[in-house]
Structure formats: structure tokens, C-alpha cells
């Protein structure tokens, strides 16, 4: 991270209010956040605190109603048009009429890549998420976790420098989750991608992140930002070290503070 390179994501005084039938819902309020290149930032907070909404604003799937957002130094819309990011949704969102490999190929077809390039990327990313051998299967023939891994492969095949992931491992069992966490960290370390990662799990957030953004609801806002002191090299058993537990405790405290007025 050099000080000169522009921030990948820069939000200032960002707010978003949905107009619903039962009046306005303030999903985001006064969010200030800067994410530098190569960071791994987790967003954690109770349900409904605006994590998905924030990610969608970065992705230009929602327009903020106040404040500004820039991605790679341009507006979110320009960044989307330049295909600046890959997005992993909370659900797998595979096309049921396409096989797994054709699903991964979808963004590549849209980008107009050659057949050979497509085949190479499909193979590489399906290997990465351990789905080799399932290329010709249709989504319904795969378990929920395998479908989610296919959707991660699809986002990785896109090969953008910014990855936006909305609870990608939420539906997976602990063991697969551990494995994918390790894989994701390795990928991140190798490629120097910038990753924004939404999660409900404190250990997952601490294990993965260089920075943890704690959010609280009504209105959705950033209540705490915690820098991780863990080294970049992180074996799974780092999760038993005192340093790890200390960070986890800070995150838990931050979440509780955001919640306190609920009681």
C-alpha cells in the first residue's frame, strides 16, 4: 500500500434512504470509509444493519441518496461499466439452464473472451474451489454449498481487482467454510486483490481481514473500525492464539455497543 495510489473505495457522508410503503427506511447513514488497494475488509453487524446495502452501493446496484462514493477513483457507475469488481451474492444465483462450466463462462462470454481463454479460466477457477469433475452438472445436481462455490468460481473467473462478497460462506458447513477461508486468503495473498467481505461470524471476520468494519442498525452506520494486528501469513490454528482472541473480543464489544440501546 503506497500512500499515493488512490483508494479503491472511498465513501464520504454516505447515506441511503429507501422510500417504502410504510415510510422511509434509513438503510445507511453518514458512512465514511476508505479502502486501500490490497486490503481485506470485513463488514460485520446484526441483520438489517445495511451491510448488503453498502456493498450494493459500491457495486452501483443502488444509488446513494446523500454523500459520495468513488470506486477506483471514478464514480461507482463508471467503475461498474469498466467491470471493476466481481460480486458474489448472498445466494448462489446460478442460471438453472446452464451447466456449472457454462455458468462460470457467463461473464466471460459477456466480456467477449476467446473460447480458449474461457476454457482456461473455467478450469483454473473450478479447480480453485474444488469443483473439478462437476463441469457438466446442472446446478440442481449440486448441494447448496457446491452451488455457492460455483458462484465464487464465477466471480473469480471474472478476474477483477476488487471482489465484493456478500456472506458467501453463510450457508456452508464449518469444515468447507474453513477450507474456503484458507483458499480465499491464499488467493488474496497471491493476487493482491482488494476484498470486501460481509459476514455474520466473528472468527471468520478476524481470521480473514486486515480491517473489520463493525456496523449497527437503525439507522445503519459504521460504529467501529478495527485494524488487525495479525500477520499476513495465517494458518488455521492462528485462531487459538491470544492475539486472535483479543481482536475477536474487541469486535464482540463493538457489536454489543451498537446493540445496547435495543435492550
Amino acid at each position: 500500500m503506497t500512500g499515493i495510489s488512490p483508494a479503491v473505495v472511498a465513501a464520504s457522508k454516505l447515506g441511503l434512504t429507501f422510500q417504502t410503503n410504510d415510510g422511509p427506511v434509513q438503510a445507511l447513514s453518514n458512512v465514511d470509509l476508505t479502502i486501500g488497494k490490497g486490503e481485506f475488509v470485513s463488514f460485520i453487524g446484526p441483520s438489517g444493519c445495511g451491510k448488503t446495502t453498502l456493498l450494493r452501493v459500491i457495486a452501483d446496484l443502488e444509488k446513494p441518496t446523500s454523500g459520495t462514493i468513488s470506486v477506483n477513483g471514478m464514480t461507482a457507475e463508471q467503475a461498474r461499466e469498466k467491470r471493476a469488481y466481481g460480486y458474489v451474492f448472498q445466494a448462489a444465483a446460478l442460471f438453472p439452464w446452464r451447466t456449472i462450466e457454462r455458468n462460470v463462462a457467463l461473464p466471460l462470454e459477456i466480456m467477449g473472451l476467446s473460447r480458449a481463454e474461457q476454457a482456461e479460466r473455467i478450469k483454473r477457477t473450478l479447480d480453485l474451489v474444488n469443483l473439478s469433475g462437476f463441469e457438466k452438472k446442472y446446478p440442481w445436481q449440486l448441494s447448496g454449498g457446491m452451488q455457492q462455490r460455483a458462484s465464487i468460481a464465477r466471480a473469480l473467473a471474472f478476474d477483477a481487482d476488487l471482489l465484493l462478497m456478500d456472506e458467501p460462506f453463510g450457508a456452508l458447513d464449518e469444515i468447507v467454510r474453513d477450507h474456503l477461508n484458507e483458499q480465499l486468503l491464499q488467493l488474496w495473498a497471491r493476487t493482491n486483490k482488494t476484498i470486501c467481505f460481509v459476514t455474520h461470524s466473528i472468527p471468520e471476520a478476524v481470521y480473514l481481514s486486515t480491517r473489520i468494519v463493525v456496523m449497527s442498525p437503525r439507522p445503519g452506520r459504521v460504529s467501529d473500525i478495527i485494524e488487525s494486528t495479525l500477520p499476513k501469513e495465517r494458518p488455521l490454528d492462528i485462531r487459538e492464539t491470544p492475539e486472535f482472541l483479543a481482536i475477536a473480543a474487541r469486535v464482540r464489544d463493538g457489536l454489543r455497543a451498537g446493540h445496547s440501546y435495543d435492550d
Partner: protein, 292 residues
Amino acid sequence: MDSFRDKLVPVTSILAGVVVLWYVFAVILNAPFQRDLDSRANETPGAVEFIGKTLAQPKPTLPAPHQVAVNFFENTFLRPITSSRSLVYNAWVTLSSTLLGFAFGTALGIIIAVGIVHVATLDRSLMPWIIASQTIPILAVAPMIIVVLAAIGVTGLIPKAMISTYLSFFPVTVGMVKGLRSPEIMHLDLMHTYNASPSQTFWKLRVPASVPFLFTSMKVAVAASLVGAIVGELPTGAVAGIGAKLLAGAYYSQSIDIWSALVAGSIVAALLVMVVGVAGRIVDRAMGGRPA
């Protein structure tokens, strides 16, 4: 085919019930005329003989199933298929205009649906007219179409096919509008994150998502096409076709002919719906559909 075996018993028992009822009504409805005949001939037949006679009249009010069956069999299998009395020949005449009209109707329905989905003003301006077009009784429209087209020298297959088109484009339009709008928000968002062009979103997402809707509406449309072709034969004084057979049967009080033409019509309808259904299933399987 397990589902076939599961359906066999209920379907046959319903069929048996219908046949029994049909015989009962044939006896009841044909009895007055038979009593007339008998009293004029000074005959007093026994009950069994009387019932036998009500089921063997040459121009019965309601022909008995076996009379229809015999007539159908003779006119289908025993006549050369080039004969104008052959049901195969007449069914083919109706079928050809049905298929032509169905093809036009499906194409037209798809085109209108694509327009409605992509152009907001078409949605508001066209849809009410399309719905209104279907509230006009086809029996009122058919003669006008035939007469107007005949005036400009278009006769034969085309006018009948146009009536089929008129009836069949509607279900396809409605089904395809729904189908093209069926993609989930998340899939549309996904295409948005790839900055896909509208035509890429159309071909890669909307079209494949609409395929099941297309086949469901085509099943309705093909049956409507057949009705259109038959109705189109009534006001033309057509010499051939199932509609022409129905009309001629009514004209000469050949009730048995009418009924066997009706049977031929329903068999054609069932076959058409079945063919569309099978085609739909083949396409669904090719698109990775889960076997039911």
C-alpha cells in the same frame, strides 16, 4: 412410464362411465321418434327389441357410441385417403391451415411480447387492444375476414390460417410477456454487475427464462388454432375439412357423420397438444431441466 400407468385406470373408468351414460341418453333421446315409427307401422316390439332399434336408427337424434365408432372407422381406415369422404383427408385439410396459423400466431405473439417488454409505451398502448381483440366473438369476425380476403383474391388456406393466427397469438403474447419478465431480480443484478448490454441480457437471461412459459402457452395456442381453422371452414362453404364435414352433416341431418367428425377433431386436437407437450419436455431436458 409410471405416470402413464397411474393415469390409465382413472382415465379408463371415466371413459367407461361416459360410454354408459351416452348409451342411456341415446335410448332416451331416440325413443320418441322410434315410438312414432313403430305406431305408424303398427308394431309393438318388446323392450329389448325397442332399445335395439333406438340404437340403430340411420339419422338418430343422438347416435350411439358404436354407430359413431363404425362410421369413424369406415371413414378413416376403409376409404382411400384421397376421397373427399375420408376423415384422414378432411383432417389433413384442417390440420394444414391449423399448423400454418399456429406458426404465424406463435411468431406474432413472440414479436408482440418482445415489443411490450422492451418498449414501455407499447405495454400501455397495445395491451388493452390485444385484450379487446379477444373479447370479440370469433364467429362474428371469421366471416368478415373470409369475405374481405376473398374480395382481394385471397382464398383457400390463408384466410383460414389467419383466423387460427387471430386466436393463437394471444395466449403466446400473454405467456411470453410473463416469461420474459420472469427472471429474478438477483439474476438481473448479476447481469448488471457484468455491465451486460440489453441484448446480452435478453438473449442470455430473458429468452432462456421464458422457454417454459412459451411451451405452456403454445399448448393453449395450438388448440385455439384448431378451433380457428374449423370455424374458418364454416362460413366459406368450404368443400373439405373437419368444419366442412360438420356443416354438411348438419345440412343433411347426418348426425352420425357430425359426431365422427367431432371425434376426428378431438383426436387431432389431442395429438397436437401432445406433440407440443413432448417438444416442450425435450427442450426442457436439453436445458438441464430436472426430471419430474
